[in-house]
């Protein structure tokens, strides 16, 4: 039963991810006084792209077509790390935060290579910028997770979640706020949202992620789009699971899981709303200000680690 719930969690994350994306763009459209597309639009996009031809530049090697598969697969594996409905996950016990960070890095590394395989300057430009952002985001990402791991005395994601669930919300250490803030900043950089990157930009010169996937089409593009939707949802679920897991089912029964799903939907909805509000009210940063943005995240993460070690 636990195993089935764990598999169910992964499937939920994978299948609901495009919906989260659709809802975000719908809310953004409403805030900007537009009607906006249907929330089901990302599903239609992915289906449409899967039925199309795969256009491959003549100069490209096998890496070009391998990259989207690696990106998609590693994102799926990462999805199996994160508890969603109860305090356990498919790879929750053996999968620790270092593996999580580096699996995401594996996908990103291949996406950068795929971008450079197209042989145009846009791909190289996107890869170069992605290299800058991801390089500087890796250390705060790891340190923020480490501060939680230190507090929880475990490295596994599920273990950390169970520890947090055991804590009383009102006696919660304020140090956690530092780790949470650092992780939020990193999550924005990691998923390529405003103010680090703009997923809806149409101007090649300002693109990061979009410049990397400029050359992709058809099923390859579908995999990349779906993967980035899953990544966004997984990172949201990770933030919820680590910092506000209360409401997750403590026992595996239909009733508890049902309640947990409702609570989880509410939490994700709150995050989605917050994200849409931020994206509508903040402008994208100039690229050379992104290191400062991530510098703040690093400083917060370092403080989180130091204080967690001191308070322990």
């Amino acid at each position: 039963m636990t195993l089935m719930t764990n598999v169910l969690q992964v499937l939920l994350l994978i299948l609901l991810a495009p919906l989260v994306r659709g809802v975000i763009s719908r809310i953004k459209a409403r805030i900007q006084n537009r009607r906006g597309a249907s929330v089901w639009r990302p599903y239609a996009d992915v289906l449409k792209l899967f039925r199309k031809q795969d256009l491959v530049p003549a100069s490209a090697s096998f890496v070009f077509r391998l990259a989207p598969m690696v990106v998609f697969t590693t994102t799926l594996v990462v999805a199996a790390f994160v508890p969603l409905l109860h305090g356990s996950a498919l790879l929750g016990v053996t999968g620790d935060f270092v593996l999580l960070v580096y699996l995401l890095a594996l996908g990103r590394f291949f996406l950068m290579l795929g971008a450079m395989d197209g042989g145009s300057s846009f791909g190289g430009m996107g890869a170069s910028r992605e290299a800058l952002v991801s390089t500087l985001a890796e250390a705060p990402f790891l340190l923020a997770l480490m501060s939680v791991a230190i507090a929880a005395h475990t490295a596994s994601i599920a273990g950390m979640v169970q520890w947090t669930m055991g804590q009383n919300f009102f006696q919660f250490s304020a140090v956690y706020a530092l780790a949470f803030a650092a992780l939020v900043l990193v999550a924005i950089a990691e998923t390529g949202r405003i103010p680090v990157d703009n997923p809806t930009t149409h101007l090649e010169l300002t693109m990061i992620h979009e410049a990397m996937v400029l050359e992709y089409s058809g099923p390859s593009l579908a995999l990349i789009e779906w993967a980035s939707a899953i990544k966004l949802t997984v990172v949201m679920a990770l933030l919820i699971a680590l910092f506000v897991p209360w409401g997750m089912a403590s026992s595996v029964s239909a009733l508890a899981l049902g309640v947990a799903s409702l609570v989880m939907l509410l939490k994700i909805a709150a995050l989605v709303l917050a994200l849409a509000l931020v994206e509508c009210s903040v402008a994208k940063l100039r690229m050379y200000l992104v290191p400062d943005f991530l510098g703040v995240a690093s400083a917060l993460a370092i403080l989180a680690v130091v204080f967690t070690a001191l308070m322990r």
Binding site: V56, L66, T73, Y102, D117, G119, A131, A149
Partner: protein, 655 residues
């Protein structure tokens, strides 16, 4: 049995030079040296493997018959490093068996086949010796033979200068190592004696031994700021020799430090650990940052050796901190991480240098700006190079990740220490390691993306063809090792645990270390099935031109270049590079159209300018002053001798 095999291995290695000199006149005997060398390396690998996995010990002692104390012995630590040397050199020699005849002829080829086995034997000597004499004998020969191998590749003023720097720094380092051994006198005839006497030493003396060993082996390992020789000497050697120097020779320095710090001295104050940790963090960060600024492939790889030695030192440093805090279980984890990274680095760095050799063989250049599009022209070389890139970056499912993961876990364990400084410093070191990892990813995305993907940037790169079969086989074997260790790290982890138990009494590898061995094969299986499924799923594919905003005429010069790719990172870390730029514009008649523009950007590392230059200047000035003593007048020299005699007599009288 082991003894017999080991002796025959040594004899076979030493016979290769003789065979080379005899057989070179005989036309069919050309392949003989390579075959003999590979055969003896197979024997060496087998001996080392048995010693490492089964923990068998033996000793070869010729002190009785010789007038000096010269003995070789093997414990698990020696066996591990012997395994590293033999198993990594084997594919490198296989590669060379085809590479050397293609690039070197006549006397140069014979000299390569004479010096290569001698160089390998000297490294074997270093890691198996059990007396200081044997160790230093091997240590010195290792430097000389490697310098000899560099000389073979050509001669120019610049090269001589680089080799000179290499030799000077190596001898300065060797002096420190000799000093570390001398401090054990009078109990320094063999390692067992030194181990016993170290426990009775005063803390001050122990610290002196540690610092001398740290400086001496640090020079060989190339930690910042003693790394100066590394990016000069490694790139100018023949590629297989670079592979051996970077992949294997640097590890003998790590062996030396582990032997001194963990075997002889046992444990020390925790600042030893912080010193090593700090050296590792600085080397790792500066190594990878300098690498990002390079566009010559072999210089770039040499800087990455500095980075990886930094990662190894991070593990060693945290192990020392743990032993100082009496936490031998976590020390075992950290030491295992460092030793495993030695093996992993040996494998993937040799592979990268062999890849560089294959590139220069096929495209006749190592300048990234002249490469590109090689993946389609050299499918196997490209694929194994990609595997090596993933390994060195430390991505999961490749071997570099396993050792970096273990290092991360040891840093996390640091938070469990009751000592507050350890509980804060060690977890923060994880941030440094993560930053190093991120920078390495950016650097190798550049190397592989610019070198192997996209369109060829020069005619030579466009005409490149796949290299010969033995070269492919050598690289393929190393790449296989990367993937196998990356997915099934349990193969080496268990024996490494036994090795650390020998070094740190009362330690056993904590169960945390094995959680990765459980999950990695499953992830690998999942990735394989899914990627295989996608690839097998027939998708309509159509070749098109690359998108050029709807305009024709996209050419290879419009691709992102290596400096362009690294520009954002170089800008963010500009304080590290301190490039000296000069821009000269000759204005034309209307000043808006200059006649010529020239731009130069020179990057001299601050260490040369602020650390080495004053020291070298001081030595040269002192030497010039001392020259006045050398008048050339024989009476003056007789006076010196007389004065020395009187001084000695007086010393004997009162001492």
């Amino acid at each position: 049995m082991m003894l017999l095999a080991f002796n025959s291995f040594l004899v076979a290695m030493l016979s290769v030079p003789i065979v080379t000199l005899i057989s070179h006149r005989w036309r069919k005997g050309r392949a003989l040296p390579a075959a003999l060398l590979m055969g003896s390396l197979v024997v060496g690998t087998a001996v080392a493997a048995v010693g490492f996995w089964r923990g068998q010990r033996f000793q070869v002692d010729i002190s009785q018959v010789a007038s000096f104390s010269f003995a070789l012995s093997m414990d698990r630590l020696s066996a591990f490093f012997l395994l590293l040397i033999c198993s990594v050199s084997l594919p490198v020699i296989l590669f060379s068996s085809s590479y050397i005849p293609r690039h070197y002829s006549g006397a140069r080829r014979h000299w390569l086949w004479v010096l290569l086995p001698l160089f390998l034997t000297s490294m074997v000597l270093v890691v198996t010796s059990s007396t200081p004499f044997a160790f230093l004998f091997g240590w010195e020969l290792m430097t000389l033979f490697s310098a000899g191998l560099i000389v073979i590749d050509g001669d120019s003023k610049q090269r001589r200068h680089n080799i000179f720097i290499y030799l000077v720094m190596m001898h300065a380092g060797a002096a420190a190592v000799i000093g570390a051994f001398l401090l054990f006198l009078p109990h320094a005839s063999n390692f067992a004696q030194m181990r016993d006497s170290a426990a009775l030493m005063s803390p001050l003396l122990r610290t002196a031994v540690f610092l001398l060993a740290f400086a001496g082996f640090g020079t060989k390992a190339g930690i910042v700021p003693l790394h100066l020789w590394l990016p000069r000497a490694h790139p100018i050697a023949p590629s297989p020799v670079s592979a051996l120097m970077s992949g294997v020779m640097l590890k003998t320095a790590v062996y030396g430090l582990v032997r001194f710090a963990f075997d002889f001295l046992g444990s020390g104050p925790s600042w030893w650990g912080y010193l090593v940790l700090f050296a590792g963090a600085v080397s790792g960060l500066l190594g990878v940052l300098y690498a990002i600024g390079e566009h010559d492939l072999k210089r770039l790889l040499a800087y990455h050796s500095v980075e990886n030695i930094g990662i190894i030192y991070l593990g060693l440093g945290s192990a020392l901190v743990f032993t100082a805090n009496h936490s031998s279980v976590w020390a075992a984890l950290a030491l295992t991480a460092a030793l495993l990274h030695c093996l992993n680095h040996a494998i993937f760095k040799s592979l990268l240098f062999l890849g560089a050799g294959a590139i220069s063989d096929a495209a006749h250049t190592l300048d990234l700006e002249e490469l590109g599009g090689l993946q389609k022209r050299m499918p196997l070389t490209g694929t194994v190079f990609l595997i090596a890139c993933c390994s060195i970056v430390g991505l999961p499912l490749f071997n570099g990740f396993v050792s970096e993961w273990l290092t991360f876990r040891s840093f996390l364990a640091g938070s469990e220490m009751t000592n507050l400084s350890a509980a804060i410093v060690l977890p923060l070191a994880a941030g440094v390691l993560a930053l190093i990892g991120g920078l390495a990813a950016a650097c190798f995305a550049k190397v592989y993306g610019v070198g192997f993907l996209g369109r060829p940037r020069s005619g030579e790169a466009g005409r490149a063809n796949e290299v010969s079969l033995p070269m492919q086989a050598g690289m393929g074997a190393l790449a296989t090792a990367c993937v196998v260790i990356g997915i099934f790290p349990g193969l080496v982890l268990r024996s490494l645990g036994a090795l650390t138990e020998e070094l740190l009494p009362g330690a056993a590898l904590p169960p945390e270390a094995t959680s990765l061995t459980v999950v990695l094969p499953w992830i690998a299986l999942f990735v394989l099935v899914l990627v295989g499924g996608f690839a097998g799923f027939k998708r309509a594919k159509k070749l098109t031109a690359t998108w050029a905003c709807g305009l024709p005429g996209l050419d290879e010069r419009m691709q992102y270049t290596s400096p362009a790719f690294s520009k954002p990172l170089r800008k963010v870390f500009s304080r590290v590079y301190r490039a000296e730029r000069t821009l000269e514009v000759v204005p034309g008649d209307p000043p808006y159209f200059p006649v010529s523009i020239s731009y130069r950007s020179v990057r001299t590392t601050s260490f040369e300018k602020f650390l080495y230059r004053p020291g070298v200047d001081a030595i040269v000035t002192a030497a010039l002053r001392l020259r006045r003593l050398q008048t050339g007048n024989i009476q003056i020299y007789l006076l010196y001798i007389f004065a020395a005699l009187i001084a000695l007599l007086m010393f004997m009288r009162w001492a």
